[in-house]
């Protein structure tokens, strides 16, 4: 009923002893996620609410068989943390950290190319399979187990979408925030490919925003490969050109990356595009149950 995180998830938290790391680790535990270890260099041997802390990811993996990592390490050290997790054989790395230098991410992305690790983020809310595992900072209670997959570049906008789906009785299989940075570990197509292999996912919602051409490429992929109905939404219809709208990737330059050009391509590829965020839940109910 889900992709990438679920009942098999054995979570490790890098940066567990920081304020945010600690807070969100406990939120994940409370949701029911199996958190097996934390890593903070120099604090090995301590514990956070009975979760053992290790100095290195390799030690943590050897001791606890952790298979997923969630990263709260500050930006100057985050690239190193991602590469350390990959080196230790962690299968899924979810990096929450915002503000990692672009050149660091270029090296990380190419460094991961030959490994078996998958990276989600950085600068993302994480991933949740409602009812089984939450690996991220999203509020758990707005989710409901079900068959809709959600993929988004944003954080709170994803919560808004999920909230509306749940209000319509539409549960979710897995919700993924891929992150708002120009270079992210997993893109829309990586997520779509995984959802295509999950026969319990009966519909998809793709939440994009201005800038780049990831939504256009995803739309072309959907036309060829996705059999379930897909609802699309793009934030930034009114964003002025040349101004970066918060996310490092969200910028309209010249005529490329505009919301209207993205929407046109998505419609061409057979997606059901909703332009009014306030009615997205109802719109999805019509598409998925109508």
């Amino acid at each position: 009923m889900s992709i990438w995180v679920g009942n098999d998830t054995r979570l490790l938290v890098q940066g567990i002893t920081g304020t945010e790391g600690r807070f969100h680790t406990l939120q994940c535990v409370q949701y029911g996620t199996n958190v097996v270890a934390g890593v903070t260099p120099g604090k090995g041997g301590q514990d956070v609410e009975d979760i053992p802390v290790f100095n290195t990811v390799r030690e943590a993996v050897a001791d606890t068989r952790a298979n997923t990592s969630m990263i709260f390490v500050p930006p100057p050290f985050a690239a190193d943390a991602i590469l350390e997790a990959a080196d230790a054989g962690i299968g899924l790395i979810v990096c929450i950290t915002e503000g990692i230098p672009a050149h660091d991410m270029l090296r990380v992305k190419n460094g991961l190319a030959g490994s078996t690790s998958r990276l989600i983020g950085p600068n993302c809310p994480g991933i949740i399979s409602p009812g089984t595992a939450k690996v991220g900072i999203m509020p758990g209670p707005i989710h409901k187990p079900g068959g809709i997959g959600v993929i988004s570049r944003s954080g709170t906008l994803t919560y808004e979408v999920v909230h509306q789906l749940t209000a319509q009785g539409l549960g979710q299989s897995t919700c993924i925030g891929i992150g708002g940075d120009p270079v992210v570990g997993s893109n829309f197509i990586d997520c779509l490919t995984a959802f295509a292999g999950d026969n319990k996912t009966t519909g998809l919602v793709m939440v994009g925003e201005i800038g780049g051409n990831a939504e256009e490429e995803a739309a072309a992929f959907i036309r060829e490969n996705i059999k379930v109905p897909v609802v699309g939404f793009i934030a930034g219809l009114t964003a002025p050109p040349g101004r970066r709208m918060g996310h490092a990737g969200a910028i309209v330059s010249g005529t490329s990356g505009t919301a209207s050009s993205k929407i046109a391509v998505m419609r061409d590829c057979g997606l059901h595009v909703c332009e009014e965020l306030g009615r997205l839940g109802e719109f999805c109910a019509d598409i998925f149950t109508g």
Partner: protein, 387 residues
């Protein structure tokens, strides 16, 4: 973070790249003295963070003292609005005075990280001096794109692809390859998001000169480049945007009259869209972030209200990390301090939303609470129609 042309050229000169001899001047007299010292012809160039300065009258050539005086007089103090400043003018406080060059040919060269392929991209063209997006649109065959794996780094074959692509031969070929190598190293070592040389001039005596320079530094990497961080020019920022930055708020001023305060960049953009779809015009983008506290909310609210164009406010918060009761407390405190008179629509959902609504209701403030996003949109539309 954008650099001024003169700052970019100092950075380039420090890396051994050929830039024209020049001086920065902040008065007409200093500009004339600089031109006299450098010799004529001299170029007088406005130093603002905006492309397209030439067409807007921000760059002039002077052949003698009188022309230098007239050019500096016209440029210093002018408000420069170019095709790339989105309607907002920049006041020119400084000019760069440079030695004029005898130019035979103009090339284009830029290096930037390419998001789609996670590689470094070198873009070059024989059509220098033009807007590169126009060249890409009309004559795409004249644009050379070479991608470099950042882990492998720049190799000799990359240099050959670019240099032969530009049709360079002999000594010019060699000096171009040396220049590109230095520029590439600079972009990587100084965390640049863009280094653009347009034009890269070929002089009558076959030298390469970086006539114009546009550089953007990765703001996220300034922690390891203190010297570059010091180059930030706050006078180029909108005063409210600069104020917001102090409180770690992400604020962008726009032209409308409905202020917005939202947590999260994507939701903030979508909220602007909702206002527009409801028939209003957003006055700003304001993302208070996921971890905002009551003080940040208060400062954000204060900044919204200090924009004289703002006539109504829509607050849209989806509480996750940011709890709704914290938001509500911040709003109430700020409203009390500024003696709020504008209509404010508040929509809150998520963590502690009930408690947040109770705080707003008990505050005695005339806040309009919305139930859901669609309701918020309709309420702000009603207000917008009455403005």
């Amino acid at each position: 973070m954008k650099l001024h042309e003169f700052q970019a050229k100092e950075l380039f000169a420090g890396a051994g790249l050929p830039v024209p001899e020049g001086r920065v001047a902040d008065s007409v007299q200093a500009a004339v003295e600089a031109a006299e010292a450098l010799g004529y012809p001299a170029a007088i160039k406005a130093q603002v963070h905006a492309g397209g300065r030439g067409k807007a009258g921000g760059i002039r050539l002077a052949r003698d003292r009188q022309e230098a005086q007239a050019a500096a007089d016209a440029i210093i103090g002018m408000t420069l609005a170019t095709a790339q400043t989105a309607g907002r003018g920049h006041t020119v406080r400084r000019v760069l005075v440079e030695q004029g060059q005898q130019i035979k040919d103009e090339l284009y060269l830029s290096i930037l990280p390419d998001r789609a392929t996670a590689s470094m991209m070198i873009i070059a063209s024989t059509e220098g001096g033009m807007n590169i997006e126009e060249v890409a649109g009309t004559t795409p065959e004249r644009i050379i794109r070479v991608r470099v794996n950042p882990l492998v780094g720049l190799q000799p074959f990359h240099l050959r692809q670019v240099a032969f692509g530009l049709g360079l031969r002999g000594d010019l070929f060699k000096s171009f390859c040396g220049l590109l190598q230095k520029l590439y190293s600079l972009v990587v070592s100084r965390d640049l998001l863009l280094a653009e040389i347009n034009p890269l001039a070929v002089t009558e005596d076959d030298r390469l000169v970086l006539l114009d320079a546009k550089v953007e530094v990765d703001s996220s990497a300034l922690f390891r480049h203190k010297d570059l961080a010091a180059l930030h020019d706050p006078s180029e920022d909108d005063p409210l945007e600069a104020e917001a930055k102090k409180y770690h708020l992400n604020y962008i001023r726009l032209d409308g009259n409905i202020g917005t305060m939202v947590n999260g960049a994507g939701l903030a953009m979508a909220t602007m869209d909702i206002i527009k779809q409801a028939g209003g015009e957003p006055a700003n983008f304001l993302d208070v972030g996921g971890g905002a506290n009551a003080e940040m909310i208060e400062n954000g609210f204060r900044i919204l209200l200090s924009d004289p164009d703002v006539r109504a406010i829509l607050i849209n918060i989806f509480g996750g990390i940011l709890r709704c009761d914290v938001l509500a407390t911040g709003v109430v405190e700020a409203a009390a301090k500024v003696a709020l008179k504008l209509p404010v629509v508040v929509r809150m959902e998520g963590t502690n939303a009930e408690e947040g609504r109770r705080i707003l209701n008990d505050s005695g403030l005339e806040l309009i609470t919305a139930d859901g996003l669609q309701d918020a949109a309709e309420k702000i539309a009603t207000i917008a129609r009455q403005l």
